[in-house]
Amino acid sequence: MKVIIIDDEPLARSIVKEYLQFHPELELVAECSDGFEGVKAIQQYQPDLIFLDIQMPKINGFEMLELVEDPPSVIFTTAFDEYALKAFESHAVDYLLKPFSRGRFDKAVSKWLQTGKNISAKEQLGQLLETVSSSPAEQHRVVVKLAGKIRIIPVEDIHYLEAADDYVKIHTREGGFLKNKTMGHFEAILNKTQFVRTHRSYMVNITEITRIDPYEKDNHLAILKSGARVPVSKTGYVKLKSVLGL
């Protein structure tokens, strides 16, 4: 079975490597020092299990997982992160607290070999990621992938959001990016005094609005600085007016 270690500290990787020597059934195929390398290595090697640190440069472990189409099983390794620990506990995800002993490591591995590898990682991690994506760190940026390239978008740069099937299209100055999330998710994590759900399928950054025009019956259109026209429904108009203080 193939294993990848993703951790930005070389010594932290070496300790996992050392403990892995005692599990010949697990073959270490790659070591990565950040999330970007991690995404690439997972695609390339399709591992069965990854050991993943949370706090890493640029994008953290959770943000990295969001970018992986079909994530493998994960054993998280972290030193101290109260927020993440709560999420692990509530979703029965295994994790190792640094510094961890070989005994603790062996236990995590044998537990995974017995049961974990049969559980759908995608489902389990999906729920976990939904929980942690409302963490403070992830409320002021969104990580997306476009044509193999990873982009980190500060939420201030978002003009508006548009629902598109199972995705949400994030419109910015540089164009639109698709993110595999729901509108409800963004409504929950984004600042409600800045982003308003003006329509079933639209959410708009109010600092981008230049004017609001009437449009057919009870509906309106919000015209943004970029020239984009965002539909505003009857209830959306009421919400928008209250946030703008009209």
């Binding site: 930005d8 500290e9 010594l11 020092s33 640029k58 030193a79 640094k98 510094p99 980190i152």
Partner: protein
């Protein structure tokens, strides 16, 4: 409980002197009207003795009961009651003590002067009451001010303590993890790192707010911290520290710079994936200690609002509590380098 003005010797002396002058005047006035020295003395002593007693009691009552704002009518009523009772009691005692045929002529005089006596007593007691009200109000205010000062100092101390005590658990556990890895691969370096970590922890635990430390000591502790981080992050992290000769002996609040360097590490190491140089330069300019910390950052993702981080806010707050100035921390960014400048005013007990 507040002190009574009569407990203060200066005030007490004035009180008794005034009483003595008044009793003498009273005595002289009565002899002037042709009464005997004996009679004048008895009258003066009894009347003024009672007046003094009434003043004493009024002052004590006001000590426990100060009228609420503008309800001074109660004080007037109090003074009236006491002047009436002092007079009635005076009349009764005088009637008794002058119950002798020799003093017969004095009784009508006493009756004729009742209103004058009452008026003078009332004015005297009012005078005393006004002095007491002013006195106690001022005492109360002083006590409040003192309490407020004490409370402020307590909360300030607590806040300063909290601002200092932000040793990152993340740093501690990750360092222990590195040591755990080194024990097998490089026992010598593992032991070295344990010593560095212990020295660093000791300096963070030891320091008290009042004891300012020399810049060179603070710098040593920062270097320890950076050495540990270098072990953790390997070749990615390097440091450049420059200091001028004068700065080493200058005093600074302990652990003031630690959050600044932590902030630099956080943004340098977690905001980029390249190699990172953290530079620290220390100099003395215009009698102020100037510390500059520089780290690389990525302007694309470090948005201005989240750029400064909690660490710098705590430093700003602490400098404000110590010097009541908000202009001692400056930050600037350009060309992928983020610069934090801290100016520390000279401590009174700096020696050269």
């Amino acid at each position: 409980m507040t002190r009574s003005p009569l407990n203060v010797s200066r005030f007490r002396n004035i009180f008794f002197a005034w009483w003595f002058v008044w009793a003498c005047l009273h005595f002289l006035l009565i002899t002037y009207y042709g009464f005997t020295v004996n009679m004048a003395l008895i009258d003066s002593l009894i009347s003024n003795g009672l007046l003094m007693g009434a003043c004493g009691i009024v002052s004590n009552i006001l000590r426990y009961y100060l009228p609420y704002s503008n309800r001074y009518i109660y004080v007037l009523l109090l003074c009236l009651t006491f002047s009436l009772s002092a007079n009635a009691l005076g009349k009764f005692i005088l009637d008794l003590s002058l119950n002798d045929p020799a003093y017969r002529a004095y009784i009508p005089f006493l009756a004729n002067t009742y209103w004058i006596r009452l008026g003078i007593d009332f004015l005297m007691i009012c005078c005393m009451a006004v002095i007491c009200v002013l006195w106690y109000t001022q005492e109360e205010e002083q006590e409040n001010r003192q309490r407020k000062n004490d409370a402020e100092k307590l909360s300030r101390d607590a806040e300063l303590y909290k601002l200092r005590q932000q040793l990152q658990p993340h740093f501690l556990f990750n360092s222990l993890n590195s040591i755990s890895a080194l024990i097998v691969s490089n026992p010598e370096q593992a032991r070295n790192m344990i010593h560095q970590l212990s020295d660093f922890l000791r300096t963070t635990l030891r320091k008290e707010e009042e004891q300012w430390v020399k810049m060179e000591e603070e710098l040593q502790s920062l270097e320890l911290y950076l050495e540990i981080e270098k072990v953790r992050f390997g070749h990615r992290l390097s440091t450049a520290i420059v200091k001028d000769d004068k700065s080493g002996q200058m005093l600074i609040p302990p652990m003031l710079l630690q959050p600044v360097v932590e902030n630099a590490i956080k943004f340098g190491l977690y905001d980029t994936t390249d190699d990172v140089i953290i530079s620290i330069s220390v100099s003395v300019e215009n009698e102020m200690l100037k510390v500059t910390v520089q780290n690389p950052y990525d302007p694309e993702t470090a948005s201005p609002r989240h750029g400064t981080g909690f660490g710098l806010n705590s430093v700003k707050r602490r400098l404000y509590l110590l010097f009541a100035r908000t202009d001692l921390v400056e930050t600037s960014s350009g060309d992928h380098v983020f610069t934090t400048t801290i100016n520390i005013p000279k401590h009174e007990s700096d020696h050269h």
